[in-house]
Symmetry: C2
Subunit: 188 residues, 2 copies
């Protein structure tokens, strides 16, 4: 039995992670997840539109917060400073349970279907950053490019922290990843 | 009737573009495309795995060429120089018929389904560049990040050239896009 949880969504996520680990992502159905969580298929679909989504946090509220932080953090500093401060917060939030994130990433790494969904989620994050950057005065084209670069810097640092099983390295990885981009485009 | 074409694949692409423009992407079926091209549904699926793919060029051979060019172009120059030279060639190749590319991009811009496929194609291109960069001596993590940044620089320049209906601006747009990244990450 899954451990008690007051929240249907959390129970479904826990049940899914447990079943995916036992049987692999492909072999598990939505019905299996609902049953394991002691809920119905119908309540599963009240929380998630499909099987993939159970592995992705509900980010609708976070996206608005990301836009606001990028737009408003230290308004006179370079845009990069606001983006890096925002990404630091996002990383710390996601990595508060680094072991759970590691198990989740292992599942994604094995499934092209999940990788496709992950790309969509990263594109959403880039869109949120882009909106924040346009509010700082960047034009739409520049904002898009800088947002995509920022998300890649984030993704790389996040993966490094997960692979080292150490959330404390995230801030350093974020700076190292930015430095990698900086060296690559230097004297352009 | 579609204009005569010696090649089934080209006939299907032309037929699809014509029907998508008339009726919109969603309303057209694979059967419609095959019929318009004077071919069978079965021969459609010999060329393309699904409806989306008819809008994307067959890039399997190009990817190997991209890897090789990134790995081998001016081996003593900075990696960025090799990537930019490679992207310039890819852009010139794709933009040899800028009007067709504009119509294609208009369809993609209207369909989340096509945008998802486009993201997958850009991820393939990033993987090809990444492999080339590792052959130049970058580690896997750095190579991944630099490849994603490169693809974004490319995508931005390509869209700008399409929107201005002028393939001649591509090289300048490519440099401008790289400069945007450079300014963003400066004094990191």
């Amino acid at each position: 039995m899954p451990r008690w949880s007051p929240n249907g969504r959390d129970r479904l996520v826990d049940a899914a992670m447990e079943l995916f680990r036992e049987r692999g992502y492909e072999a598990v159905t939505v019905n299996d997840i609902a049953e394991q969580a002691g809920l119905t298929r119908r309540s599963y679909f009240r929380h998630f539109p499909d099987k993939r989504e159970v592995l992705f946090p509900d980010t609708s509220q976070h996206m608005a917060a990301i836009t606001k932080e990028v737009a408003e953090h230290l308004p006179d500093a370079p845009a990069r400073v606001a983006v890096m401060a925002t990404l630091t917060q996002v990383g710390r939030f996601l990595l508060r349970d680094v072991d759970a994130q590691t198990r989740r990433q292992d599942l994604i790494d094995e499934s092209p279907e999940l990788q496709e969904r992950e790309r969509s989620k990263l594109a959403e994050m880039a869109a949120a950053i882009k909106t924040g950057l346009t509010r700082r005065g960047l034009n739409s084209i520049e904002a898009h490019t800088c947002a995509v670069v920022s998300v890649e810097v984030f993704r790389s640092a996040y993966l490094q922290a997960i692979r080292s099983h150490n959330s404390a390295t995230f801030d350093a990885e974020l700076n190292a990843s930015l430095m990698t981009v900086s060296r690559f485009v230097a004297d352009a």
